[in-house]
Amino acid sequence: MRNKLVLKFPQSLLDKPIISTVVKRFDLDFNILHAQTKPEGLLILEISGTDENYNAAIKYLENLKVNMQPLSKDIIRDENKCTNCSACIPHCPTQSLFIEDRKTMKVGFDPEKCIACEACIPVCPYKAMSLKL
């Protein structure tokens, strides 16, 4: 099982080491895609492990009243529209959009890191970024 999850934490849980507990107890691998504490606790994780452990971990988190949703949206870049200007880069919170090579100033896009926050869509002057429905 491998899944990208958006976790929202109530304030009361913010100072608890929930994720490390989950990882240890259920033997899962995880990758933090995005983390913030303000204005609310928000964590976007990619979790992988056996089905059994994964489901047990989800149960544990549900019991703690952590709000969970699968990250199901996909952001795509239209390579024909992108001019490699870089206008989107400061607006991307996860460095999914980045300069690949400072000599050519080519702009790379790493969908693996993308959390589908959609911040890049309105700031791209060429409408190169969009939400795949």
């Binding site: 490699n84 206008a87 400061p90 100033m105 060429y126």
Partner: protein
């Protein structure tokens, strides 16, 4: 030994010209020294690819039967108003024109998804666009309404005419106000959180010929894939802007007016552009060859990002009220690194113009010259430079008499 335009063109025709992109020429000068490099190389290609609001298109759409006189009437292309104050079936459509029913900034920030610039891109792509004309009718032009599809291949003329392109240098924009702002320099986060710029720096045409020794009226240029020309200096051309000790302007200075045949252009280098909260604009790809006539021209052509700096301007407070921001300068080398130190913290930098595309254009122009397809033209007249009194003036505001409004 100085070279002449004729000598360089002869070499180009014989496929013998040595042509380098500006970035390659910089490397060569670093390796071999200016003298050697200037002797070896005939032409340096420069380019830029950025949003240029002062762009537009003249078209002649041909006479209908019965005839109509759009002049003095109203015309819309894909619902974007075109300027009709010309002869019977000539129109001008400007890049920043909005569709008549666009909500603009009433829902802030406006999207400006489709404007004059997008019409120009669609025409260049060979798409059909809808032309509507409302005329008052005359004895010789009786028709009052026209509603038809037009296509670039059917137009008599489609002439791109941009009164101001290719700014010699430009501001680096920051926003020191407390809210996000939406500008032609992109979306700027509050409290100086990001800085944007818009110049190809060491590849940008007028920065490689800062005193306009080879770039002038009549210079043949690469205009969105076609061979176009510099028709005049651009509006707001300001050769007397401040310059550093290498003669490079330390802010916006010279500009170009350019003209070319849209029918020969490649839509890849002519992009309808939507600046959130600001408006529509056209991103134009321009390449300008610099003939290395002598060592002085070569010295300027070898100017690097490290030597070119942009003033940091606060668009949140100062820019709208013509106040100069005393926030210092930053070089294009620093801007291109992705982050700079500003007011004691690290700030992300990003560009509106595309250096990557500018490189692509400089390379295309280089290949065309090497293959003998693009000859250089000597300017018919050079631009007013820093030895003239040409400047850029603010508006001389004169309060109208009140009774005009009563």
């Amino acid at each position: 030994m100085p070279k002449t335009y004729e000598e360089i063109n002869k070499k180009i025709k014989n496929n013998e010209a040595v042509v380098l992109r500006a970035d390659e020429f910089i490397e060569l000068v670093d390796k071999k020294g200016l003298k050697e490099a200037a002797k070896e190389v005939d032409v340096v290609t420069t380019a830029t690819f950025g949003p240029m609001c002062s762009s537009g298109l003249f078209i002649n759409f041909g006479h209908s039967n019965p005839k109509i006189k759009s002049g003095g009437g109203e015309a819309y292309i894909n619902e974007v108003p075109a300027y009709t104050g010309l002869a019977a079936v000539d129109l001008y459509i400007g890049a920043t024109a909005c569709q008549w029913n666009d909500p603009r900034n009433q829902i802030h920030p406006g999207k400006f998804a489709y404007g004059g610039a997008h019409v120009i891109e669609d025409l260049a792509k060979g798409k059909d666009v809808r032309l509507k004309v409302h005329a008052y009718g005359t004895d010789c032009y009786p028709r009052k309404e026209l509603d038809t599809w037009i296509n670039i291949k059917d137009l008599n003329e489609a002439i791109l005419y941009n009164p101001r392109n290719c700014y010699q240098n430009y501001n680096a924009a920051v926003n020191l106000s407390k809210k996000t702002i939406y500008t032609y320099m992109g979306t700027l986060k509050p409290s100086g959180e990001n800085i944007t710029y818009s110049s190809a720096g060491q590849l940008s045409p007028l920065l490689k010929d800062p005193l306009y020794k080879t770039i002038g009226i009549g210079t043949r240029i690469w205009l969105a894939g076609a061979q176009g020309y510099i028709s005049w200096y651009g509006t707001q051309h300001n050769p007397n802007a401040e310059r550093n000790n290498k003669d490079i302007p330390t802010g916006g200075a010279g500009t170009l007016a350019v003209v070319g045949n849209l029918k020969e252009m490649d839509a890849e280098y002519l992009r309808g552009t939507s600046m959130q909260g600001y408006g529509a604009t056209l991103t134009v790809g321009i390449g300008v060859p610099i003939p290395l006539l002598d060592e002085e021209v070569a010295k300027y052509a070898a100017i690097k990002d490290e030597d070119i700096s942009a003033p940091i301007v606060d668009y949140g407070n100062d820019y709208p009220i013509c106040k100069s921001s005393d926030l210092g300068h930053v070089t294009y080398a620093e801007l291109k690194s992705g982050k700079i130190k500003f007011k004691g913290k690290e700030v992300q930098t990003s560009s509106l113009s595309s250096y990557n595309k500018a490189l692509e254009i400089a390379e295309k122009l280089k290949q065309e010259i090497k293959q003998g397809k693009f000859l250089l033209s000597r300017p018919a007249q050079l631009f007013p430079s820093s030895d003239t009194d040409k400047t850029q003036k603010p508006l001389n505001y004169k309060e109208p008499k009140k009774e005009i409004f009563q």
